[in-house]
């Protein structure tokens, strides 16, 4: 990718991170965000670890290779880079956006708690027009299952457990008590899927409350 393209993508990613922080989806040092600069060899542009994602200037982004090593820029790559890379390799994603929202943190754990065990579950989203915002979904009249995994500080192990789930995932994966990974062909598509999935998570939360109060 040319320097001009890298500069444009860095601006776009920095701006997206600012918007995402504005919405309360990456408070503190939470969340991480990456874009593919090139596929052959694999090069990512991403935020360094441990910084406030809402105020990262384009020049403060780092470049990382396909094994998660930093090629240029100040700072370390997050351990979560392993899962970004897994998603990029399995799904052909051009951008991965990982958020820590209220609904994502809550319902990811709930999905695991409802499941049979084994640290795996899924959140069902159904009969909602907004599902059509997910690439490949053509009607509201369907069920979409967002896979959920128990959290793990060993990102290599977590990525291995995620691997078999990614190909069928609706551009999103939940990690329990942690948050959402959303992705897409490029940054615009990943942002669209992120907004759609965060909307649907919040909607699912309201549906649970409504079901409880109308069940009396």
């Amino acid at each position: 990718m040319s320097d001009a393209n890298t500069t444009a993508l860095a601006k776009a990613l920095s701006s997206a991170m600012g918007e995402i922080h504005q919405r309360g989806w990456c408070d503190g040092t939470g969340g991480n965000f990456s874009c593919v600069l090139s596929q052959q060899p694999l090069r990512l542009l991403m935020a360094p670890s441990g910084v406030h994602k809402g105020s990262v200037a384009p020049r403060d982004l780092i470049q990382v290779d396909g094994e998660g090593h930093v090629l240029s820029g100040q700072g370390k790559a997050s351990a979560e880079t392993a899962l970004h890379l897994e998603i990029i390799k399995v799904c052909g994603a051009g951008a991965v956006l990982h958020t820590h929202s209220q609904a994502g943190t809550l319902l990811s754990q709930w999905a695991i708690d409802q499941a049979a065990g084994g640290g795996r579950g899924a959140l069902e989203l159904k009969s909602l027009e907004m599902l059509k915002g997910l690439e490949g979904v053509k009607t509201h009249d369907c069920s979409v299952f967002v896979p959920a995994l128990a959290n793990d500080q060993d990102l290599s192990a977590l990525s291995s457990r995620a691997n078999p789930l990614l190909a069928d995932a609706p551009h999103g994966l939940l990690i329990a008590g942690h948050g959402l990974y959303a992705w897409g062909r490029n940054l615009g598509s990943a942002m669209r899927h992120l907004e759609i999935l965060e909307f649907l998570l919040e909607q699912r939360w309201r549906q649970l409350l409504l079901a409880a109060i109308t069940a009396r």
Copy 2:
């Protein structure tokens, strides 16, 4: 309409869409928005299908005729154009704003679930001062019924089912699990009705919660 008027309306519609996205009422590629440029022959200015409605520049809006065919601009007209046109024809609306809010998505489905069946229901809103923000309502001391229809990917069929309900609708129509259509004589009036109806939907949600916790 003169070119100057078209330009002014395009700016106003683009700006309104930005505000609506800012409020979280059209995440992802959700929602659609149109203004009438001329009635004879019928010409609409609207957002193209499948784009992020919060960042459509005035020059990226398309012009559409009374059968939903694109006359100028890049991109396709949404299938939902059929329902925009139905509302414009039946109600004499000058602008139609279609949103996907949390409360609209939730309570539209609830209205259908509470109803006798047949894919039709209504949401009652009563004894609220904000009702007076709807054109024609002169007192808080009344009930307003927002009609609700089951969702359908066949927009022609959906528009036909909407037709008999539109003349009496309070400048708003709900589609279940989908969202709100709000309209008015012009863009300003439609925005006013949209803000009022979205406020009332959120209020109705809180009323349901309050009723549940005080019923014990």
Copy 3:
């Protein structure tokens, strides 16, 4: 008041209205807002009736006398001007801010429903540090009662019923299913009381939910 002072106050009031709309406290054409320009003779600067309060330029404000007649500017004075004037006369207020928030609309009605009848009630707020933001309150360890009245389209009658309650009111009055009137010595003080009371209303709502779920 000099022209320069009027201009400065008009700017401050227009800006305050923009902020209040931004917070979702005066959607559609809801709410009304006034400042005292002079006490002898009584002159108010206020928003005209029926407009969107979030986008009123300083030059679009009207001047009104002590009987609610428009002295200058385009547009009508809201019928609610009667209650603004009542508050100004009884409480010596320099500014009155009337909002339609979610919590204010909901809990004003709840306060009436909980009361013995007669269209009067009160919302108790207690043991909260934020109470100290109300002028005259020196400790969190107290109860403050915000009076509430049933809504009435006859603003003259409503103002008469409000009259005996105003002197002891904590710079705030609730109208059921309608919203909050907050006031203060000047615009800054009224804004402070508005923010405090809206915070406390929202907090009271959360307290009710928490009490319900911990009562099991």
Copy 4:
């Protein structure tokens, strides 16, 4: 600290206060915020008491010594300065941010109500990835206890009761019905801990609601 450094810190603190108000965490005259200018002798930069914290210009901040006396600037130091100083002395904090959020106000009281008595309690936060945003926490798989104290208008007494709890506190302390104190090595670190703790408080609130509706 040089004048240039003081100016830069004043700008950063004023800007942080604006952001905090924007999020609804210091409405009215609520909250207070301080930064350490020098440790030997101890000098704080902070907002004066009784003002709207969202609109304090850098030049309107006051300088305060280690006993809470104002050294320069207009206005009084808040009585709460005593608790800021206690935190700075015990924890070596470089900045203290004290907010009045909805969840902080509510759950601080709840923590006291759940406790055995004596005006002391703690809010447990566990198994959440966001805990790792607190300095020193390396895994989600742990419990963090935010200490809570009953509110008291005697800030000297309150500071004495806080003293034994501060060394082990997770960069945060709750005062019942009042709010959160968050701190860090410097302003950036304190802002990070504030965002993390406010996120976790809001999450705890949602967890309580979810537990109630799934317990049926």
